[in-house]
Amino acid sequence: MTAPPASLDGQFPSRTVNLRGRRRVSETVILAFLFLCGFFSILVTVGIVYELGKESLLLCRLPEFSVFKSLTSTRWQPHTGNFGIWPLANATLMTTATAMLLAIPLGLASAIYMSEYASARARSVLKPILEVLAGIPTIVYGYFALTFMTPLLRSIFGRDVVGIYNTGSAGLVMGILILPLIASMSEDALAAVPRSLREAAFAMGATRLEVALQVVVPAALSGIAAAIIIGVSRAIGETMIVAVAAGAGPNFTFNPFEGAETITGHIVRISGGDLSYDSVDYNSIFGLALLLFLVTLGLNLVSQRFVRRFREVYE
């Protein structure tokens, strides 16, 4: 603060007015507490990285473990020293791919319909339904996969072809789970495209479809990409559907009608049994969790970058 002019000083010789706020100890304490709470989220991340890293390091120290072997081998049997990640990773990729094959086209189509075609009233019905669909616990989807989707697939393709547990059924139901996520995020992106772009295209004589597919969708592409990446990340981390319907036991297969255990499914099965600390199983599920964490973290960061780019353009 600058000092008041000398002439005023003379007029009020006995009172100096201090306009600075008094320091209040209680406010500082509160601020410190609030900051700690904000910082707590960092501690959670550090905790995740530390714990996963520590146990994974123990896994890496095992004489029979080698990163190269585990990335090339197709046998996952921690007890016999076989740490080939591919049976589990392949099942995860298969269920994720099946889910995305269903969720991307359907999710995008409903997003386009809701944003470009639907009346405000129709949207006010459709959006809550998608929200409800997204809010159903995944274990209920798992039950649905096992008691509806699998019998359906078996009656279509034949009981000899489709197993009781199979990655296809789990993937399809996972697609239904991911669909609302992609639809709702893409719809937000489409709705954020400025009206002026649409009006310019309409003025040139474009039909509604042409405006939607050739103007609005390309303009919202980075937002849609973010939605798809988040969807993939959700699908990779999704657990209960695959734990119930995809099968128990690592199995390296490209047949969607065969049972195979995903990374998440394996973690659930191993930790649901008798798990003793510091056993190979214990360390290996931490290693798998670290892999999951890093992959989903990477996908989430990429998705956030897309969202930021999208915002920079239009907001």
Binding site: G47, E51, V268, S271, N300
Partner: protein, 411 residues
């Protein structure tokens, strides 16, 4: 853009026709979401009701006393029957669990059914089959299980909700699981609500735009995207293993052999708390941001300090939004299964959780365990438990919507 050129020279009628066709297609696909939802619900309803062929080990008719059938006997008669039929050890054990003088007639009747009559389920049919193929079912039961009695079972009956878990499908209930869910949610909220709201206040009202703040924000967004099973692993490592003395109650001098070394209600609740923390922070941030700036300026204008402004003006305005977000976070936590399996939910407990250091099971875990069993009757139980879970979530969401509506009407 190159793509725009090709459509320019095509005829307008064709373009409009294509537009109309696409419109129908897009609409059909959107409706598919509704179809999926309806199918899912119908599938659960289909599983929760239906006929079952029951074969009793002891014919209830043979238990009639003086011509009074079993169903109409008094409590004392039923107790006497139990005493006469069961071994004295088994009878005394039941009496120690809860004295017969304190048990209700229904409870004693259930015991008679469970211990003496012991109906076994030979075959079950779902609702659709029960409605459309009743004569086939009758014929099948007659030829395959001539001893069996065909009974329409409503798996979702009031007693299903009030009975504890047992290993017999006919007498199993979800009371233990519901109580377990409520206990874990309580601890999740006790952890996540104060920390989450405080963090949101810090980020919205105090934080300056520096590197640390940006790191915290990015980090919260990332935490919201971490798969729930990773939180389970974190809970296993920290709450179950590292903090075992605390989460098993040893620190507080509670030595209870049933507390399965840190795999307790408390550990599960704290794990779920970490899981929903980012959701609560993000929702609370939005609610705080929605409070108009003019409110804050008016408060500063009459000389309030920053904290006085936040406590008396910002928080009351943001509270409905914060609560809505918290309810949504709770409904996420109630449906979570995977992290709790990893933390170590018990496979079979028949007693209610009584303290933070009890073993636990929750509704979704119960559904998982029943779904994973090969027998069809347990699938029916899973369907009934799913309906209970969905009902719980529906009422929570209705509460959130009511709050949101009240909030938006006021502002």
């Amino acid at each position: 853009m190159k793509a725009g050129i090709w459509s320019f020279d095509s005829n307008p009628e064709g373009r409009h026709r294509r537009g109309a066709a696409w419109r129908k297609g897009l609409f059909a696909v959107t409706v598919l979401g509704i179809v999926a939802l309806v199918t899912l619900l119908l599938n659960i309803l289909n599983g929760a009701f239906g006929y079952a062929a029951l074969e009793a080990r002891v014919d209830p008719a043979s238990l009639a006393v003086d011509g009074v059938p079993l169903e109409e006997q008094s409590r004392e008669q039923l107790v006497a029957l139990l005493q006469a039929t069961l071994s004295s050890g088994a009878f005394n054990k039941l009496n120690t669990d809860k004295p017969f003088s304190e048990r209700s007639r229904t409870n004693v009747y259930d015991l008679v059914l469970e211990r003496i009559v012991r109906p076994d389920i030979r075959e079950t049919w779902n609702l659709w089959e029960s409605l459309t193929r009743l004569s086939e079912i009758r014929a099948f039961t007659q030829s395959e299980f001539p001893e069996a009695r065909l009974q329409f079972i409503n798996w979702l009956n009031p007693r299903f909700v009030t009975r504890p878990q047992t290993s017999e499908a006919l007498t199993a209930g979800v009371r233990t699981a519901i109580l377990g869910s409520l206990w874990t949610i309580l601890f999740a909220i006790l952890l996540a609500f104060p920390i989450g709201v405080s963090a949101a206040i810090y980020l919205e009202e105090f934080a300056t735009d520096n590197r640390l703040t940006r790191l915290i924000r990015t980090n919260i967004n990332n935490l919201a995207g971490v798969p729930s099973i990773v939180y389970g692993i974190l809970g296993l490592a920290i709450f179950v293993r590292a903090l075992e003395p605390l989460t098993s109650g040893e620190v507080f001098g509670i030595v209870n052999p049933t507390t399965a070394n840190g795999r307790t209600v408390l550990s599960a609740g704290l794990t779920l708390g970490l899981l929903v923390l980012p959701l609560i922070i993000i929702n609370a941030q939005e609610a705080i941001r929605a409070v108009p700036q003019s409110l804050r300026q008016a408060s500063y204008g009459i000389g309030a300090t920053k904290w006085q402004t936040i406590w008396s003006h910002v928080l009351p305005g943001a509270l409905p939004g914060i609560l809505t977000g918290t309810i949504l976070a709770i409904s996420r936590a109630i449906g979570e299964t995977a992290p709790l399996v990893v933390v170590g939910a018990s496979t079979a407990i028949s007693f209610d959780p009584a303290s933070p250091f009890s073993k636990f099971t929750t509704l979704p875990i119960q559904i998982y365990q029943w779904t994973a069993r090969p027998q069809a009757e347990f699938r029916s139980l899973a369907a009934a438990a799913s309906l209970v879970l969905l009902g719980l979530l529906l009422s929570l969401n209705a509460a959130a919507i009511l709050l949101r509506n009240r909030y938006s009407r006021r502002s």
